[in-house]
Amino acid sequence: MNLLNVGVINNIFISRWFPGILQWPTAFIFAVVVYQLFYGPSSAHDNFGTAMTWVLWWPIIPLVFLLLGRFWCAVCPFATLSDLVQKWVGLRRPVPVFLKKYGIWIIDALFILITWADHVFGIVESPVGSGILLMMIITGVVFSGAFFERRTWCRYLCFLGGLSGNYSRAGALELRADGEKCKTCRDKYCYKGRGDVPGCPMFEVPGKMDSSAGCNLCGNCIKVCENNSVSIKARVPSKELWFIRRPKIEESFLAIIIMGIVFVQNITMLDIWKDAQKIIEGVTGTTSYSVTFTITFIIAMAVPVLALYITSMLAGVNNKEKAWQNFARFGYALIPLDLAGHLAHNLFHLLAEGKSVIYTGISLFIPGYKGGSAALFSNETIQILQFVLIGLGLAASVYTAYRISKSSFGSINSAVPFAALLIILAVVNVVLFTLPMSMRM
């Protein structure tokens, strides 16, 4: 069903106030967050900026990707800033070829680097550290908006954009255009823009789009299309992953890297991390946290990648594909489990520390206000929800591997090794969620 046939939804998308009416409040809150991170309470526990960023926004964002695809990117304050800079001083130069070619690899590298830096420099638990991370991103956004066309940053450089692109493929919403209608269209206003409405900020041509990875549902194409070609439909989450026409190894690599990152985030928040550190310190002969963490980090990143590569080799015995081809093709099957793991990990922070957002918010107006318990739900409830999420993610991932195998090779045999790997990864996730975990605030 085309949701644009529902009057209210259609009116929202064609309104000239959309998505601006959501962009500006978001930008205002973002400004308060950045100010608080730098000049608010120095303890992360009491800082509204930290609570908003790491207890509310970061845990909720994967859920937004699941339900609304990449819609966050349409109202993201960084995108708003990019648009503003571009409007004032933008040179609107074409995107450099190397960015188009290696953009996702750069995103992969940035994601790894930021996760590493978070642990080594303590970004999450340091309000100023979080503030500096945001300022660095702002600088990148300003540079991109000043020199390059459209939302180059969001499409080719934003690490969250890479994440959202991957997760949106598993999302429950898709915007598509009627290819037949678009073939006869010569105006291509959806790409070029018309009047006050700019063309697709994400460099997409809706008529050729077969993925939600690049669509932020900003509605520009809906506003300008004269053929009513564009539709927005609800779909079975992860369905898009069943039919990836041109699998890219860098996107599969990001999927497995996210799994590694979720493991790192979990492991370093567990009590056993202390013991693991002591073992590494004994082996390396140094007590430097940077060294012990970096070693752990490399292992946590490398093990899932190697596991997927070996699984791809095993699948190759059956389907005669090269390992890297299977890696690229079946790597997408990891995305639902990634999303589930990411959601489950952050669900703990959201539900066990969620009230801290309210308390720190109140303390902006009543200095010294501490509030009470930060938990929204009991541990047992949170844990059950985590297990349910992992179960759903595993089911979706295994089914995706099955569909990929069937559509690519006509049998399910190639999916078997990947199903085994997915089960192992899910079990590791479940085990990690049964162990004591620390809070962010």
Binding site: H45, F121, P127, V142, F143, D271, N379, M439
Partner: protein, 135 residues
């Protein structure tokens, strides 16, 4: 060609300028950072007492040391005592607390300056290219 050189030079200047606020942070902050602090903060354990686990806001002290104390109070899991945690995680929780407003101003000012420079250069190049077109 000149525009290209200008962009490259700008990039290099930006990298240098960016390095300063980051260095300021690293110098003031990094040394105070211990092992992943979170591990010592408020440990959640599946079986532990709800009231204790709830990361009670009023159990924390704001400012330096507040987190550490809370960390040492938290249970390590399944109701066990977590003595030693606060000690292990020393340094955590005072993130940013030992950074003066002056240093923060330098960091914010540094980034703002870099951004202003980027905007200024883009504006200059745009005016220049428009001038070229008009000529």
């Amino acid at each position: 060609m000149a525009a290209r050189e200008l962009v490259i030079t700008t990039l290099l200047i930006l990298l240098l300028l960016l390095g300063f606020p980051v260095y300021s942070f690293a110098a003031g902050e990094h040394s105070s950072h211990g092992p992943l602090p979170a591990a010592g903060d408020n440990t959640y354990s599946p079986g532990q007492d709800q009231a204790h686990q709830e990361n009670s806001h009023d159990s924390h002290e704001s400012g330096q040391g507040g987190h550490n104390e809370a960390g040492s109070e938290s249970t390590s899991g399944h109701g066990e005592d977590s003595s030693g945690h606060g000690e292990d995680s020393s340094g955590h929780g005072k993130s940013g607390s030992d950074m003066s407003d002056q240093t923060k101003n330098i960091i914010v000012g540094g980034f703002t300056g870099v951004n202003a420079l980027v905007i200024g250069i883009a504006l200059y190049l745009r005016n220049k290219s428009q001038g070229g077109l008009n000529a």
